[in-house]
């Protein structure tokens, strides 16, 4: 198989999966096998065929068609997109395993629709990852929004409907008003929207126009959850937990920050931003989001809500990495896409496992659960450490490069922000583990004949995935060099 056709195949495979899922909708076992098979073959194509080529320095390209003069639907794989695709497709397999346990354990309805929309969203994420120009990226970006809407509103309740409104309103609204505007502007200024090393805007857009254009892109990418356009992410937590885990910790939100990073690197160009200082303001917006979201996370008692605000905060690390406009910053940001994905998906898996196993959603109710659900909470500990950024966890490396980036950019205040944020994340994550392991189980209060008796580990398929990804966080620490080498292809082509 040529690398070129593999790129097309990667985007199409999930769609083929949809067909099978729909076909086997009546037989859950067959349906979920179809999803798994699709996931595995997708990962094989991406890791086995496309990755080696990109590592060897190739940039496989696939031109589909020209929609309007100068606006092509085309794919081209570069290191950053490669990494994102690997993360999204790899974690899709784990999430599918988890979904099987969770959706059955939780007796969810409309499971076929759930798996179909999930596959659609993954296809969209891969389209975003491989997009060769801003237009193609925009097409798939919107596809992700639309395909995840039915997942957010999965339960069909009034609350889900409201959340769906916020979700669609913010994501669609920002993308149409800001992002599309920026897209037209870029096209008119540069005559193309292709991603090119070094950017396409140098000498074409100048002065404060650069600042405005960058703002349009940064805020237009609602999925990056920069404040004040972050509200959709906590709202989306009404969705079933596998959705929160893969989409709202990995595929959807990472598609957002990936977009910001990619546009900074390949449309503006790091050099242009460094010499003009046009992205300096963005570091401050990102810093504000990092701190404010962490502080809000501290106040949340609902575990998923706390994790959601933690995600908002962590996403801005990546935006910050891009806005620093230094090579270490960009590499750190790119690496954080993978590292945070691994850590946060673990945390969400655990949150779901606690919900299935113990029927608890509030942190204050989780006293002593660690003894009943040791694997779940150990995995939670591993994920927490990685998100905080302590060695020997993968998250420590990306934070290391981000801090290097602040030094390179001579913005020591940002280094301070990252440090404080680490402390804050200890503050909002560690108490969960602490309560679970060091507090006793609550005594029988008379309402429930045996409150602790019914609590045990969630089904096997709900516990295995977080343990796997938790271990993955440790493994990532030792293999960070490979990611680093891959990403160096961005800054030193």
């Amino acid at each position: 198989m040529s690398v070129q056709s593999a790129v097309g195949l990667a985007v199409l495979l999930p769609l083929a999966g949809i067909f099978l899922i729909g076909l086997f909708g009546r037989w859950p076992n067959l349906r979920e096998t179809a999803t798994l098979v699709t996931g595995f073959s997708l990962f094989t194509v991406i890791a086995g065929v496309i990755l080696p080529a990109v590592q060897a320095g190739a940039r496989p390209r696939l031109d589909l068609l020209e929609v309007l003069p100068g606006l092509d639907l085309a794919f081209e794989v570069e290191p950053l997109g490669m990494l994102f695709a690997l993360v999204a497709s790899g974690l899709w397999i784990v999430t599918t395993l988890y979904s099987i346990g969770y959706m059955r354990g939780h007796h969810e309805e409309n499971q076929t629709r759930f798996y179909i929309c999930f596959a659609l969203a993954i296809s969209g994420a891969l389209g975003v990852a491989f997009a060769a120009n801003v237009f193609t990226l925009f097409v798939f970006y919107e596809a992700i929004t639309l395909s995840t809407y039915p997942l957010v509103t999965h339960h069909g309740t009034e609350a889900a409907k409201k959340a769906g409104r916020v979700y669609l309103g913010i994501l669609m609204g920002t993308s149409i008003v800001f992002f599309l505007f920026a897209l037209v502007w870029t096209y008119l200024a540069a005559g193309t929207t292709e991603f090119r090393p070094g950017g396409i805007l140098a000498g074409r857009v100048e002065g404060w126009h650069l600042v405005v254009l960058l703002a349009l892109y940064a805020f237009g990418t609602g999925k990056a959850a920069l404040m004040p356009f972050h509200r959709w992410l906590p709202a989306a937590m009404v969705a079933p937990t596998p959705v929160s885990a893969l989409l709202h910790a990995v595929a959807v939100v990472k598609a957002g920050v990936f977009t910001v990073l990619k546009i900074i690197v390949y449309i503006f160009g790091i050099d242009l931003l460094t010499t003009t200082g046009a992205s300096r303001w963005l570091t401050w917006v990102a810093a504000f989001t990092i701190l404010a979201a962490s502080i809000i996370a501290l106040t949340k008692d609902n575990l998923k809500a706390r994790l959601a605000y933690s995600t908002v905060s962590q996403l801005s690390y990546i935006v910050l990495g891009g806005a620093l406009a230094t090579s270490a910053g960009v590499v750190g940001g790119g690496m954080h896409i993978a590292m945070h994905a691994m850590g946060k998906i673990t945390l969400f898996f655990c949150a779901g496992a606690i919900m299935v196993g113990a029927h608890k959603t509030e942190i204050s109710e989780m006293d002593g659960l660690g003894r009943r659900m040791p694997f779940t909470f150990l995995a939670f500990l591993l994920g927490s450490l990685s998100v905080i950024g302590l060695p020997p966890m993968g998250g420590s490396w990306s934070k290391w490069y981000l801090i290097l980036g602040t030094v390179e950019a001579d913005q020591l205040a940002m280094m301070g922000v990252l440090m404080v944020s680490s402390l804050l994340s200890i503050g909002y994550l560690m108490p969960v583990v602490g309560r679970a392991f060091f507090r006793p189980l609550p005594e029988d209060d008379g309402h429930d004949h045996n409150p602790a008796g019914g609590i045990h580990e969630a089904p096997f398929l709900c516990v295995l995935p977080p343990v796997l990804t938790g271990i993955g966080c440790v493994v990532a620490f030792f293999y960070a060099e490979n990611i680093y080498e891959l990403l160096m292809g961005i800054v030193a082509p």
Partner: protein
């Protein structure tokens, strides 16, 4: 021999566009059975569409076609003249006529007395004659004549609606439409006074020689107001919401996609071909009038649409907003802007007729077009509602649908003209579309129907087919844009006198 015959037929296609529906309308009147009339009308409509395709193809390949009626040469005789602009409009109008007609029988059974069916089809064909006539003619006075043919038949078509409100709506439209027609007639009369000709091409030449004297400017203003009423430019739109709401569902789908589009064509033809951009936008500064009105329409129309509980009415207000986009396109007076306006004519015809046909199907099954009636339809009429979602996404302007293509050109035109705020307003107004479309989607997919609601089947295939042809077209022409954008941009260049 047969080759010669075909050739002869091909040369006479422009005249047949008018003659065949006109004569068949008369035949329909005498047919007793509604279904027979329908078959005849189908035959006529689809062959009109086929001949429009042939004409379009010819114009693209060999340039404008001129046909002298009765062999009398222009400018003395009446000329039918088809260039890229009206070839495109003709293509859209005949296509929509044929597709909507295909979906009509079941809906008509429900809404119109059986004995009136053949008369209905006669009126339908008559209206089509008028619309096609306005499009293909190269004679200004003929435009008026055909306008009246299409208008009179559409008043009668609207009056067929099941409620008595249809009658008052029809009268309201009749009054407004007649005023509009009169303005146009007076305008044409004044140009005739100045130039002594009724041939469009000849008028343009003569007017350029005369220059902008007062009579010419008044004529221009009259024609703008007249076509403005027919086109329902804000604030001359008051006839439209009632007419669209109370007309039979099929009639709404038909008129919404054709009548205003042809009016837009007439406006473009007068402004750019006859008066010329320098006169209309230089001497009279029409753009300074039309642009604010267009923007007001975009917001007022969409905003009012958000609060409608009758979905047909909601779509009618949405039409007013969409007409705003088209008018905005021409008021930018640039190739990009005009391309946007013309391409939106094409695109909006597809989306809106699709949406109105969905409403016809919903009406057929639930007996209502109110928002409450849509509850649970996502499950009970999955294919129909899926088409609504697709066409609705296109209204919002999601990429890879036709709505995106229109928006792209309009935003680009606004930025190129240095009108940044206008570009922002275009994008903001599409958010309003998101709100009014999603209101319906939410009810259809998330609200449970009341327990005593009767069982409902999916729409019959005779309606689903046409609905999905239109919904599919909104996606197809959003991806493969060479036909619509190619013709629209070439027409825009021609109208503005810019070389290829």
């Amino acid at each position: 021999m047969s080759g010669q015959l075909l050739d002869h037929l091909a040369n006479n296609l422009p005249a047949l566009q008018i003659a065949v529906p006109l004569l068949s309308a008369a035949v329909c009147m005498v047919l007793r059975r509604g279904r027979t009339a329908w078959v005849l009308a189908m035959l006529v409509a689809w062959s009109s569409f086929a001949s429009a395709c042939v004409i379009f193809n010819r114009v693209v390949q060999h340039g404008a076609i001129s046909y002298a009626e009765g062999g009398w040469r222009a400018p003395w005789g009446i000329e039918l003249r088809i260039d890229l602009l009206n070839a495109l409009v003709l293509l859209v109008v005949t296509a929509i006529c044929a597709i909507v007609l295909t979906a009509s029988p079941r809906s008509l059974d429900q809404e119109i007395w059986q004995e009136n069916h053949s008369k209905f089809y006669a009126l339908y064909l008559l209206c089509m004659t008028g619309l096609a006539g306005m499009t293909v003619t190269g004679d200004a006075f003929n435009i008026f004549v055909f306008l009246e043919i299409s208008s009179l038949s559409s008043y009668a078509l609207i009056a067929q609606g099941t409620t008595r409100r249809a009658l008052t709506s029809s009268i309201q439209y009749l009054v407004m439409g007649t005023i509009g027609g009169t303005f146009i007639l007076l305008g044409i009369g004044m140009i005739y006074m100045v130039t002594g000709t009724l041939n469009i091409a000849d008028m343009a030449v003569q007017l350029a020689a005369v220059g902008p004297n007062r009579t010419v400017l008044v004529a221009l203003a009259f024609i703008c107001i007249g076509t403005g009423i027919k086109l329902a430019v804000f604030p001359l739109h008051i006839w439209l919401p009632n007419a669209y709401t109370y007309a039979p569902a099929i009639v709404t789908a038909f008129l919404a996609a054709t009548s205003t589009k042809v009016a837009y064509y007439v406006l473009v033809r007068f402004l750019f071909s006859i008066f010329g951009a320098p006169l209309a936008f230089g001497a009279l500064r029409l753009d300074a009038v039309l642009m604010p009105l267009a923007i007001a329409a975009m917001f007022a129309g969409s905003f009012v649409a958000i609060f409608q509980d009758n979905i047909k009415r909601m779509l009618a207000y949405s039409s007013i907003a969409q007409i705003g986009y088209m008018v905005l396109g021409l008021s930018l007076v640039s190739v990009t802007g005009l391309t946007g306006g013309l391409v939106h004519l094409f695109n909006h015809a597809l989306m809106k007729s699709g949406l109105f046909l969905v409403m016809a199907a919903v009406l057929l099954r639930t007996g209502s077009v109110r928002l409450e009636a849509m509850a649970g339809l996502g499950r009970r009429m999955p294919w129909t509602m899926a088409a609504f979602v697709v066409a609705g996404l296109s209204m919002i302007g999601v990429p890879l649908t036709v709505g995106f293509v229109s928006k792209w050109y309009l935003v680009m035109g606004a930025i190129q003209a240095g009108l940044w705020p206008v570009a922002v307003l275009i994008l903001l107004s599409s958010l309003l579309a998101l709100i009014y479309i999603w209101r319906v989607v939410e009810v259809a997919y998330f609200r449970q129907p009341p327990d005593d609601a009767p069982e409902i089947e999916e729409a019959p295939f005779s309606m689903l087919g046409p609905i999905w042809v239109l919904a599919g077209a909104t996606v197809f022409f959003g991806i493969f844009t060479s036909l619509s954008v190619g013709a629209a941009s070439a027409a825009a260049r021609m109208l503005l006198g810019v070389g290829q």
